[in-house]
Symmetry: C2
Subunit: 131 residues, 2 copies
DNA sequence: ATAACAAACGTTATATTATAACAAATTAAG
DNA sequence: CTTAATTTGTTATAATATAACGTTTGTTAT
């Protein structure tokens, strides 16, 4: 049994490297423009790579911005518990790592006693620079 | 001084009534098709009404679905603290009202001591029917 | 009542984000 | 090797959202 090491394909590597280098979240078409010199020509090639990278937890989608950011948690293999802080002024986005918060939300039960497999939380405010 | 009662404009009323009647979140263009008989012809008319309705807290946007849902909290005038449960199977969406949760998140401070003015939380799982 | 201002409207065009469909190439596993 | 699964490349198009413009309506202060 060969170990299932997550080998990324060529396009997946290209897209991931762009996202990892970026200072903030990137939009799909901005990624596309950045990788055209490396042979990726069509939106779909980017979106397919993004889909896979999300699936394996290498990146997250910031839903309120339709943008994609690298996951810095090396241990975060599957992104089922995500929290971000977003600055309303400069648009800076940071992933929040707070074990109390993630425990609280992972264990959260709603009024009907239901628990959830996955959540995404986006906080908005002014970052330290902007306030 | 006349009291500032939130008077909705015609288009805002039309759009809101469609969203309130719906069983689940509606997409902008689905709203558009639904209101064309009432004289709204262009996407922008819908989007402008949506923007205003969100601003005054009558509806919320489900970011992961690009869809809009009425706020059932009659007291919820400004939507700065929202939480939803979303079924991965039937796509049923419900707003979560849980005062402990909202207190916890409203008062949440990140590792740098920063607090936030607004948040949006989306939980995913299987609803009672689907599991 | 009316001037001044703000908000909402209508319209056309266009920008942005994302997926469908299909065939070829590559990779992984038995 | 060969079969299955994944990834790729490509064209076209669907779905979501905003820009820009001028007009109309509603509100507030005189």
């Amino acid at each position: 049994m060969t170990q299932k090491q997550e080998q990324l394909s060529k396009n997946q590597q290209i897209v991931l490297s762009i996202i990892e280098k970026a200072k903030g979240p990137l939009k799909a078409y901005s990624i596309l423009y950045n990788v055209q010199k490396r042979g990726i020509k069509a939106p779909l090639q980017v979106y397919r790579a993004l889909e896979k990278l999300i699936e394996i937890g290498k990146i997250h989608k910031i839903e309120s911005k339709n943008a994609f950011i690298a996951c810095k948690n090396s241990y975060c293999e599957i992104s089922k518990a995500t929290a971000f802080s977003i600055c309303n002024n400069c648009e800076h986005v940071k992933e929040i790592k707070n074990s109390k918060l993630s425990k609280y939300l992972t264990n959260f039960e709603d009024n009907s006693g239901m628990k959830y497999k996955k959540y995404n939380l986006e906080f908005f405010g002014l970052c330290n620079k902007c306030k």
